[in-house]
């Protein structure tokens, strides 16, 4: 159960990061978001 909640939180944060990334006008900040997305995806899939 706790793992499901954890994955839900990670998914929520990923959605927020993606939202910011698509609204962002500075390319380099979009690159920063890209680097944040990778560990979030690995967490949600329980790979790392």
């Amino acid at each position: 159960m706790m793992t499901l909640v954890y994955r839900g939180i990670a998914l929520f944060i990923l959605a927020l990061v993606l939202r910011c990334m698509f609204r962002e006008k500075d390319f380099w900040k979009q690159v920063t978001a890209t680097m944040v997305i990778v560990p979030l995806v690995l967490r949600i899939l329980l790979i790392k």
Binding site: M2, K29, I37, V41, L42, I47, K48
Partner: protein
């Protein structure tokens, strides 16, 4: 600091970068998942393969269930367990167990080998350690075999979260929360506890049910840690360990002998001795790749132990092992292997009924001369 050049972000660039992030996630994810595949081993003739869950069903189907190999000579003698891989970032331990698994011919007694005790911990690296994922050995036929270099702790994907304080159930001892994922703080185990504690319970059940007379838990330690190139023995195994230490010293292999502390709980040399009839032995060799003083951490360091910072520390007299610019894995495996063979000899001197006769194990000199790869079996 301002960026080197301004680029305006847009939805197109976001889509491009999202695709890049997903590609990178897929690539790294595959890389991480590869580490969860068990290493292939080629047991010598006469070994039968089992899973630890046969002795303790509480770990059936979990990430910590691990292979147990048994070679029964059919002639009554001693029952001996050789276990490596309690801490998968201590490769001489698991490689020594693999060496026995792939070479041993048991002519009296029964030999149990567990090469990868904490299978979950083999499936990932410790964060912020920059450890290599694998180490490689070239065999005489030119083929290459690889083995994982894992973490000290059970994979948090399989067991989480750690508490702030880990309370060892059998004693009430309090340790740092991260120790909950450390197999060598989990003994004698908890039947319905977290995965690591259940794994420890499985090992205890095996020792009890198979009436193991002598049980090795092989390790490595940082060269700057005092308990290194050492045997740690429970009261019941102390006489045997003392005889072995003296014999090893006669052979020119320097060895410390440490009594198992009575107030440090959860370790094999304490709990196996207190909760079973076995004689538990923990052995340590010096592994620069897990030490705090090391510089660049890569496969070369794991295999050779060459590190300029350890060389400097040695010059300054800060190490507990003789260190002359290297500490090869071959040497560390040779130490463990020779020590185990001497233990077998001394065990019979102590009790003539306790005989484990094993042939085909290379000597210290052979391992040093030819290297570990020489004694591994080709995969095909």
């Amino acid at each position: 600091m301002a960026p080197l050049f301004e680029i305006r972000g847009s939805k197109s660039s976001a889509i491009f970068l999202l695709a890049a992030a997903l590609t990178l996630s897929a690539w790294t994810g595959r890389n991480f998942l590869e580490m969860r595949k068990p290493d292939l081993v080629i047991p010598a003739e006469g070994f039968s393969g089992h899973m630890l869950s046969e002795w303790f069903p509480g770990i059936t189907g979990t990430a910590v269930d691990t292979p147990v190999f048994i070679q029964d000579s059919g002639i009554p003698g001693a029952n001996v367990l050789i276990m490596g891989g309690t801490h998968p970032n201590e490769p001489a331990a698991s490689m020594t167990a693999v060496l026995f698994l792939e070479r041993a011919a048991v002519t009296r007694g029964r030999l149990f080998v567990i090469p990868f005790a904490n299978m979950s911990a083999f499936g990932h690296n410790s964060p912020q350690e920059a450890s290599p994922q694998r180490i490689h050995f070239t065999l005489p036929d030119g083929s290459v075999r690889s083995f994982r270099y894992g973490s000290r702790a059970t994979n948090p994907v399989h067991q989480w979260p750690n508490p702030d304080i880990y309370i060892h159930e059998a004693s009430g001892q309090q340790l740092s929360g991260s120790e909950m994922a450390n197999l060598n703080r989990a003994h004698p185990g908890v039947e319905d506890g977290p995965l690591t504690q259940r794994l420890a319970k499985g090992l205890l059940e095996l020792i009890l049910k198979e009436k193991i007379d002598l049980a090795f838990d092989l390790h490595e330690a940082s060269p700057e840690y005092p308990v290194v190139n050492a045997i740690v023995a429970h009261e019941r195994s102390m006489e045997l360990a003392a005889m072995t230490t003296m014999e090893l010293e006669f052979e020119g292999i320097s060895m410390r002998l440490e009594p198992s502390p009575k107030n440090l709980r959860g370790l094999t040399h304490r709990e196996w001795g207190d909760f079973t009839e076995t004689m538990p032995i923990l052995m340590e060799t010096g592994n620069p790749s897990q030490g705090r003083l090391r510089g660049r951490t890569d496969e070369h360091l794991v295999l050779t132990g060459e590190d300029k910072f350890y060389a400097k520390a040695s010059e300054l007299g800060r190490l507990f092992i003789p260190y002359e610019n290297d500490q090869p894995l071959d040497y560390r495996v040779a130490r463990h292997t020779e020590s185990i063979m001497v233990f077998f000899e001394m065990m019979t001197l102590l009790d003539t009924e306790l005989v484990l006769a094993v042939e085909n194990i290379p000597s210290f000199e052979e391992i040093m001369e030819k290297g570990m790869g020489e004694f591994l079996s080709p995969l095909n």
